[in-house]
């Protein structure tokens, strides 16, 4: 009798374990519980348009830098701030029109090549209710001195660039490397390392990356210094870059 009782309990336990295992292995569906029930899409539009305008203006700053380099003039990024404001004014009037919000306050854009800061402190009002909105995006890039140099044995010498990025968001950052190529009176920025996606594992931290770029023999034939530009863009297209140089002398 006692044995029958034990086997009854064991059977119940087995059924329980099997049932739990079945439930646990069923395909689970990700619930949207992490998202607030009431999402203000007007606010979402403000955020998204600011993000897009920041990327647009930084891209314009890159174009100005690029043409400045290849044209032999100093790259000017001042026009990018105007592009940012123009973009934002267009978008804020659209938001006003489609949502009936009154958006006041002007965001700011600063691009120093290796630093990008887009900021906004806005007042948004609807039906007499006014609320403040703060938004900021900041990316910073720097070369690690002492760890960036031409390495390897001739003819397979490569440029190892170590750099730090701050403010980029997961999942990735797009990195490109350009070499300044002077041919007579013409100056080119050669894209020698095209669009590699480097991972970003967490938001808000500073990440150190190391890239290696093989150097063509023609650069050694010319001698002197190798000038390079490393450009990093986040997944919205907002970009920063750093310039550097390395001695080619040793051959």
């Amino acid at each position: 009798m006692k044995r029958r009782g034990q086997s009854y309990v064991a059977a119940m336990l087995a059924i329980f374990v099997a049932f739990v295992a079945l439930l646990a292995t069923l395909p689970s569906v990700v619930p949207l519980t992490a998202v607030a029930d009431k999402v203000d899409t007007a606010l979402l539009s403000v955020n998204e348009t600011l993000k897009g305008c920041c990327a647009h203006a930084s891209s314009e700053a890159w174009k100005a830098f690029y043409s400045g380099k290849t044209g032999g003039e100093t790259g000017a990024t001042a026009g990018a701030a105007d592009r940012f404001l123009r973009c934002w004014r267009t978008c804020s009037s659209l938001i006003q029109g489609y949502y009936g919000w009154l958006v006041s306050g002007e965001p700011s854009f600063e691009h120093g090549g290796s630093t990008l800061t887009c900021k906004a402190e806005l007042s948004v009002s609807k039906r007499g209710t006014t609320s403040k909105l703060k938004w900021v995006k900041s990316i910073e890039m720097s070369i690690v001195n002492g760890e960036t140099a031409i390495k390897g044995d001739f003819p397979n010498k490569y440029l190892e660039i170590n750099f730090i990025l701050k403010g980029v968001k997961p999942p990735y950052v797009l990195v490109e490397v350009y070499f300044l190529d002077v041919q007579g009176s013409e100056v080119y920025l050669r894209n020698v390392w095209k669009g590699y996606l480097l991972p970003v594992s967490a938001e808000g931290g500073a990440f150190k990356y190391s890239v290696r770029v093989l150097i063509e023999l023609k650069y050694f034939a010319r001698g002197g210094t190798l000038q390079y530009v490393v450009k990093a863009s986040d997944d919205t297209g907002a970009c920063v870059w750093v310039e550097g140089s390395a001695d080619l002398g040793g051959g």
Binding site: Y8, L44, L94, G237
Partner: protein, 145 residues
């Protein structure tokens, strides 16, 4: 021995009862998140929550502005469907906002979309990857499923 057998039966019944309660509690706990889809007050809120989830993952930027300038419709649909319960009807459209006009450049409507039961939410984007071209994404969700 009789007394012991009686005691054993009581213990058996108690253990069985406890196990049954544990099974039911565990089952309800495991099964609960599957119904969390319907935790929205209305379809407009559900659509807004989906748009926000996509924006947070930068999926709107990447799919509404593909590298060739068009809308990556399949990717956008897949992203939306990832947040919708199976069988829910929806309509998704992307319009270019230009000179005070909204010109629809992409539209998809699921087979079970019911316009008369639908509610919508929309988001305005300025561009992506350096492109400046304001576009509006409208997601309408209707009952079903």
């Amino acid at each position: 021995m009789g007394l012991r057998r009686g005691q054993l039966r009581v213990i058996e019944a108690a253990v069985a009862g406890v196990l049954a309660i544990i099974v039911l509690a565990t089952a309800s706990r495991l099964a609960y998140p599957r119904t969390a889809y319907v935790g929205y007050s209305d379809h407009a809120s559900e659509a807004a929550a989906i748009l926000k989830a996509l924006a947070d993952r930068n999926a709107l930027c990447r799919t509404v502005y593909s590298p060739d300038g068009s809308v990556a419709g399949d990717a956008l649909r897949a992203a939306v469907e990832g947040f919708l319960p199976p069988g829910r009807g929806y309509r998704l459209s992307v319009s270019r906002l230009d000179a005070g006009k909204a010109v629809e450049i992409y539209v998809f409507e699921s087979g079970n979309f019911a316009l008369e039961k639908a509610s919508s939410s929309y988001v305005i984007l300025s561009g992506c990857n350096g492109v400046f071209e304001p576009r509006m994404v409208v997601l309408s969700v209707s009952g079903g499923g």
